[in-house]
């Protein structure tokens, strides 16, 4: 590649990113933004680098003859994994910047569950004193479906609160805060005795409906399931059945098979289910710009980029 590089910024926060990247004064980098997809196609045609949201980038891929590298601003890059799309470029995703926010979300809801924050608020609303003893996270067992950078951040917070942590991964055992790892066919053994099951897996063919009726049946009745990974990991009908039959104490879902969750979806009327609107860990532009800057410097040095996605594996 020859300098200068040309970076097409395709993001709903394009102006903020343009400002942040301009401030970083990266050598040999021209920034290109566009107000509309048409503009992006026209101005971006000679760009070799792209930075932005996978859903926006997807439709422009075919119109970028010089494309070398795409830095996605999302952790999940499903829109770019469609086998019909080109794969002749380096794709890196957003990694290492969501752990803290994910911990806030997950432990906000875990503590709300132990402390009965919603039930106590309802009692207060009714003018009723609720002296019931709170539960505690201490000594409880957390199971992480997927232990990448987000899962490992959750494990660290769990240890801080005195929990024990198990992990289920394809093969990696890199997070030292996980006390025991499970792989492959050991899903039921992994689920046994868990107080909390938290899914952080990416949406791939291998993770589709991994949370099914068999896994849910292997959980203790008092368990709570949290999904901050991808909706496709869950068999939603099986989850609804488990919640309705009391085979699961509760669930907290930030992601769904179809987003936004359709108005008529049964989850709106399922008991002991908390729904949020894919807000667990928003991308913070300053953090995300930092990921790009770090990778751009590696690019200039001719080194391997960080957080490279394997198109086959899907993450």
């Amino acid at each position: 590649m020859t300098l200068p590089h040309r970076l097409l910024i395709l993001s709903e926060q394009a102006q903020e990113y343009e400002h942040l990247l301009a401030e970083a004064s990266l050598p040999g980098l021209a920034l290109v933004t566009a107000g509309t997809p048409q503009e992006a196609l026209a101005r971006g045609a000679d760009c070799d680098l792209v930075f932005g949201e996978p859903a926006l980038i997807k439709d422009l891929l075919a119109g970028l003859p010089n494309l070398h590298w795409v830095q996605a601003t999302w952790a999940g890059v499903e829109p770019l994994l469609d086998p019909a799309l080109r794969r002749d470029y380096v794709l890196t995703n957003a990694r290492g910047i969501f752990g803290g926010l994910m911990s806030e979300y997950v432990f906000g809801y875990l503590l709300a569950h132990e402390r009965a924050i919603l039930a106590r608020a309802a009692a207060q609303q009714a003018g009723r004193r609720d002296p019931s003893e709170p539960g505690s996270l201490r000594g409880k067992l957390l199971g992480l479906l997927g232990v990448g950078s987000i899962g490992c951040a959750l494990a660290g917070t769990a240890l801080h609160f005195g929990m024990r942590v198990r992990g289920y991964t394809r093969s990696s055992e890199s997070c030292l805060d996980v006390e025991r790892y499970f792989h492959g066919a050991d899903l039921a053994a992994f689920a046994e005795g868990l107080d909390y099951l938290v899914n952080t897996l990416p949406g791939t063919a291998a993770t589709r409906h991994i949370v099914d009726s068999a896994l849910l049946a292997a959980l203790p009745d008092q368990a709570v399931f949290v999904n901050v990974g991808r909706g496709s990991a869950v068999d939603e009908a099986a989850l609804e059945t488990a919640l309705r039959s009391g085979k699961l104490a509760g669930a907290v879902l930030d992601v769904f098979e179809q987003e936004p969750l359709p108005p008529g979806h049964p989850f709106w009327r399922t008991p002991n289910l908390i729904l949020t609107a894919h807000i667990a860990a928003p991308t913070i532009p300053a953090d995300m710009a930092g990921v790009f800057v770090e990778n751009y410097r590696l690019l200039l040095e001719g080194k391997e980029l960080k957080y490279r996605v394997d198109f086959e594996r899907g993450y």
Copy 2:
């Protein structure tokens, strides 16, 4: 003192404590329990040691001629600080066992605030999707009124979530997780710029109404106040006024000047106020028995007991 020691257990969990202490097989220790205050007076008369709740112990103090040491099962020992009561014994309180539970309570509510857990639940109830961006604890400024073992535990959790921590103490600066200490007349400077003010102070003459209109006025409008110390630390009328006038974004109170909070108290109708019923950190008998065992061993070795209360200072 001559062996054997005789320990009077005066607690609502007396049976559980008797079991736990019997299991510990402490040398030279006879355990005495009583079903009623009359029984306690009769059986306890020759006891030199007492273990239990300050409110229960208070009325028996005069009937214990051989009294040498009282291990309280509470952190706050106000009932035993009445100047009319004897002070010719060693009083130790419960310390070092509430930090984790207090952290769960405080950070449960801090995260609930940042993540709008109650507002999102209300939206879900109404069948409405709430895609609003969550707040985050990262970078927020926590002010601790009082930095004993509980305050220091809160500081550790705050650092884990990326917060900065200030402390206001009489003179101690022992917790290393606090970035800056304030003392004496520096209360307004301490309050400046805080996102969260958490009171962990004991109820003493020196801390009475330390949270008054002046301190509340020194806080930013977006600040949230949390009280897990003692209700007497707060000028409740001033707090109500601050909440009603929007000079404070919210408050979470576990303790009150009068407990249980009377049914007609204005707090039941004050906006942006969360009330709980002194449940932030219940004494866990196994933990509390551990404190007694540790101190009893020090007693046998003729060493200074841990967590000794200064009757004048009040903690």
